[in-house]
């Protein structure tokens, strides 16, 4: 019977193990510090859930009349409804320096939302509201893509944010 309890580790492998642990530790601290201390946001459950069958009905939810709303000067919210195979609205225009909070949901299948070159990237699920915000500091035209397969027209589903000087 095997009565040995000691795990034999070669000295060089011991060093490798220490390096591995150190790497994992550094990664975890860096990522979680950035995530929580510097306020990177991930979408999280909103208080309200929505019924995907009613969400597009005007008056039933705020997504009945999607679009851009000013909350205070320089601070806007964009309510975007995803459906096969379009976003509505498809285009929004904001002045440079505006902070925009995106609220996105879908009335049919799963979609995705990624504003190119930014951290605005989330899944869009029936029954859930995805929310993230960003400030547009450089004028230009930015595409946002649907990044989850949503049927044969998936590749045509996109929209644009136009940031005016």
């Amino acid at each position: 019977m095997n009565n040995q309890t000691q795990l034999h580790i070669h000295p060089i492998e011991r060093i490798w193990i220490i390096i591995s642990f150190a790497m994992i530790g550094v990664f975890a601290v860096a990522v979680l510090t950035a995530g929580f201390a510097y306020g990177f946001q991930l979408p999280v459950p909103e208080d309200r859930v929505v019924d995907p069958n009613l969400v597009a009905t005007p008056g039933a939810t705020a997504f009945g009349e999607p679009g851009l709303r000013e909350l205070s000067p320089g601070n806007m919210e964009a309510r975007i409804l995803a459906q096969t195979w379009s976003f509505s609205p498809k285009e929004i225009t904001v002045a440079v320096g505006t902070k925009v909070t995106f609220f996105v949901t879908t009335k049919d299948v799963q979609h995705g939302f990624h504003l190119e070159g930014s951290n605005i990237n989330f899944m869009v699920l029936p029954g859930q509201i995805s929310k993230l915000s960003t400030t547009f500091n450089t004028p230009g035209t930015y595409n946002f893509y649907c990044h989850e397969y949503c049927g044969v027209g998936h590749q045509t589903m996109y929209g644009q944010v136009i940031v005016t000087p």
């Binding site: 019977m1 095997n2 009565n3 040995q4 309890t5 000691q6 795990l7 034999h8 070669h10 492998e13 490798w16 193990i17 591995s20 790497m23 994992i24 990664f27 975890a28 990522v31 979680l32 995530g35 990177f40 991930l42 979408p43 999280v44 459950p45 909103e46 859930v49 019924d51 995907p52 069958n53 096969t84 049919d108 299948v109 799963q110 995705g112 990624h114 504003l115 190119e116 951290n119 990237n121 989330f122 899944m123 699920l125 029936p126 029954g127 859930q128 995805s130 929310k131 893509y145 990044h147 989850e148 397969y149 949503c150 049927g151 044969v152 027209g153 998936h154 590749q155 045509t156 996109y158």
Partner: protein, 544 residues
Amino acid sequence: MYAHENRLTAWHVGIAFSALMIGVLLGPFQTWEHAGLNLYPALRAIGIQSYYQGLTIHGILNALVFTTFFITGFLTFAFTHSVKRASKYPWLHTTALVVMTLGLLITAVPLLLNGATVLYTFYPPMKADPAFYIGLTLVVVGSWITGYGLLFTWSTWKKENPGKQTPLIAFASLITMVMWQICTVGVAIEMLALNIPWSLGLLPGTDPQLARTLFWFTGHPLVYFWLLPAYISWYGMLPKQAGGKLFSEPLARLSFWLFLILSTPLGLHHQYVDPGIPAGWKALHAVLTYSVFFPSMLTLFNVVASLEIAGRARGGKGTFGWIMALPWNEPSFTAQALAGILFAFGGISGIANASYDLNLVLHNTAWQPGHFHLTVGTGVAFSFMGIGYWLIPKLAGKELWSKKVALWQAWTYFLGMILMSNGLHILGLRYSVPRRSALGVAPYGSAEWTPFLIESALGGTILLISVTLLYVNYGMTVFAGKKLTREIEMPVAENAEGHPAPAWLDTWRPWLVGAVALVLVAYGPVIYMLLTRLQLTSPGFKVW
């Protein structure tokens, strides 16, 4: 020896590589479409209706069918030849093969008739034909039965060999199967409680957030179900094939135990940007994902050190001279060594994905197919091809048709995959190019993407050449090969240092308890929260 097990393995491996043949042939069409050469109208003649139907078949056959059939066959073979005992219940293994094959046939009907163009993640409320869900469920159930067969044989072997340590290959095969049993609980519940009744019209609607969570409960450990058999070959066989020994068998055992514990409780890292999951749970899974990086680091050291032993035994000198001394004229070795090199880069891009906030830049971009073609597409599939270079001759009783063609296959695969995955990684990281999209006809395509789309199409074309060489070689071996005049034995690496594994590395209970407990802690509250917010409101859509 073990004629029944060998025959069953031949069926598993044969079905696996047949499925892969269809699956991989559809791959290059995607890269060509992206680069502006749309050949899908031509594919309509053979019944492929769209880019997305082709993509669905590519994903299902390569990632689900090829892997599962190969793994169940290979582990049956490896376990049997490792413990050197015939199956306790051979009929159980026959049943497993029948159930899996039946499942495959049932899945294939809607898949080929464009009734299940939902990709291999089949996210509801996209609704496939019920046969698609039922068939896939049967494939998984069949793979469970293979696992039960191995466990019964093992418990008999234990009684026949009191006090003897289970050989490494058999031990690791069992861990793979037990891990698979634990982690497939998620997709089994998704199928049985949601997808199947909903697709049959027995449920008014489904809950997409809950279904996704159950899917990824299985979906990430699925990656380790693919990977561990490749690790079994890298640890247990490759050192022997290279002419060396396994550097440290005890640490190999430790890393398999760690995979048993850590493979499952981390699936939420696929859902960092899902709206319905709280941030704290995502962060916990991020840390757990990093921790499963550790056994892979152990593997990297141990396998490379074993190959160094081999290289030096073959007369290699100096810091790097031993690398040149390795048997690069042996295709089975070369394919697996090259697979391991690219897999390391896939691991690095995976660490970026696992990083809670870095993922915001990468989620669902072309970086993802770039990543998993290096991991499952190379580390796993390319290793299995390399295993095939000794296993298929063994099972067919024929000499390999051409070593030279096999070596060309290995190097073209290596080159093609470097180009394709490099292009995809850059497109995703630099230009936010979405994955899973017929980019060639997308209105938002940009001229800046073109060089990288062409690079990846070139890679796809080279890969097509590579797999053509693979199938010509396998085909000629099986159907026109010279009869084997020697016995091919499964390569089994010896433990180099002669230190046996301590007893605590041979005890199942603490590791199993740890595995289940960690799953309950990491997933219990999240699933409970989703159940309290259950919304069976999505009716189901056919959008293709």
